[in-house]
Symmetry: C2
Subunit: 162 residues, 2 copies
């Protein structure tokens, strides 16, 4: 786990750990499999694509197989995953690539009160019997827990004027 | 709360409630305020925009105020929220607007194993002292719990080829 020594100058810590204030629970519906681990992972999904995608796939838990009905190859989806390797209490951060202090809500940092990440990806294969969904890329570490899959929809996922 | 009688013909229920299998906890960082309640809410955010937006704003919990640094009016953001009014155990659903059975992961239904929704919206005002962030629209009920705010970024939030 990360330590207080991981705090950079200018970063601000909450005086509590959000993990100690759980109000609802998430369950893991599967996991992301990838070639990435700490030390060899891309910084974001664009870099992951440039690096060939990372052999990215989702292994769905068998209990949830029926939920795949209606998903097909070529469909854009959201994968929501739980970034379980980091701390949750840095409310102001100093990104590695920038000297500025930034509030966590203006960053996509994995360090945040609720470490939920979202990746917009394309299904490249899907096996409804094993629950293995290959996707075009991921920047997530191998065995990152998945909490949701949803269809990506241009009409609602691109804000007005963008 | 919803009841088993809310299941429509063709819908399939898990034999457990995902809420009983919590592996990590989410904490609420604030709440969405809106004019919407059960019975008068739009079906999605496009409808909400057509209806004038719903007087949409986020009230951030005071503990998290410093996290707003770097967010400004006009910025597109994601609001992640917890759809706390529904059941979590319908793995196959029959949407009201369609006669077909659909797996939950091919739907944006609020009924899902982890009821996390995402809205891509524009900041229309922000008060760093009170933590009130006005946004252009929401389709969420008044007092829906918020679990995260992130910047929307075209480079990662639009999948390749879309």
């Amino acid at each position: 786990m990360t330590q207080d020594s991981d705090i950079r100058e200018g970063e601000i810590q909450l005086d509590f750990n959000p993990a100690d204030r759980a109000q609802e629970g998430v369950t893991f519906i599967g996991q992301i499999r990838s070639d990435w681990s700490r030390g060899n992972s891309p910084r974001n999904i664009s870099q992951a694509r440039e690096a060939g995608g990372g052999n990215a796939r989702i292994e769905l838990e068998p209990d949830y197989l029926a939920g795949l009905q209606g998903l097909d190859v070529g469909r854009p989806i959201w994968v929501l995953y739980w970034m379980d390797r980091g701390r949750r209490d840095l409310i102001v951060q100093v990104p590695r690539h920038s000297p500025d202090q930034r509030g966590v809500f203006s960053l996509r940092s994995p360090v945040r009160p609720n470490p939920i990440a979202m990746a917009a990806v394309i299904i490249t294969s899907i096996d409804p019997e094993t629950g293995v969904i290959r996707i075009d890329a991921t920047d997530a570490f191998d065995r990152t827990p998945v909490v949701d899959i949803k269809p990506w929809m241009a009409g609602i996922d691109v804000p007005p004027g963008m």
